[in-house]
């Protein structure tokens, strides 16, 4: 994933927690913080996808993942994605008319 520097004020407690993570997982502090940021971003993207405010193609691009990864991620997180019941009903009508 391409990276850019960004100035950020981080709560002290979070930095202390990051310190623990660095020792336990042998990471540097920036990596530990980035991992948390990424986990939060994944959850947020899935929430937007579930609400229909992002498309799966956009979600994949933002997280630099494949569409397969997004489908799997949603399943692992128990986030409901995909079309709604009303959209299914509408698609059924289209199928009867077209196919």
């Amino acid at each position: 994933m391409s990276k850019k520097a960004y100035p950020l004020r981080i709560p002290e407690g979070l930095l202390e927690l990051a310190e623990i993570k660095t020792k336990e997982e042998r990471l540097d502090k920036a990596t530990a913080l980035r991992q948390w940021l990424y986990i939060g971003a994944e959850e947020y993207v899935l929430r937007l996808l579930s609400a229909g405010r992002l498309t799966i193609s956009q979600a994949a691009k933002l997280l630099e993942l494949s569409i397969y990864d997004i489908q799997q991620l949603a399943e692992e997180h128990g986030v409901e994605i995909g079309s709604t019941t009303a959209q299914y009903r509408k698609a059924r009508q289209t199928a009867s008319r077209l196919l």
Binding site: I56, A60, I67, S83, T84, A95, L99
Partner: protein, 170 residues
Amino acid sequence: MKLVCDTDALIKLNKAGLLRLLVQRTEILVGHEVWHEAVDAGKAHGYPDAFEIERLVSPLKRKRLHVPAQARALLQSRQLGAGEQEALKLYFSEGAEAIVSDDRGFLHLLEAHGLPYLTPTAILVWLAEHRVLRPLSRGYQALEKLKPYIRPGHYEETLKDLQKLERSKP
């Protein structure tokens, strides 16, 4: 009959074993971006569906698509991913009958503009209704394969439709 497929729908149709049946009855239009998302990216990460999709469909050879002014406005009306943008362009340029997708946001946009769409589950029920997918137990099996990737309410509705078909069977 020409149907444009986005990546998510292509993967789901294949997971359910429906893509193989659909390509025998319709022309499935897949653009280069969708091909890249479904086949190249999938193969690179070792997803078995990508290999199967590669076997069943081909990307459209032509790269330059004629997109009418109406579609250009639609493409600018909301941020879409590259795959969905391409599906829309293909729909207009190739005179397709519908777009196959299971993406809530994309379908919402299609509906708002009165564009016809199909979902993998609607195709499943249609194939069962027309006895392409038979015996009906194969329809239930296909739905179970889709279950982890669709909303519970959507699953229940599709199940009800399959059960209705079963009851109406002569």
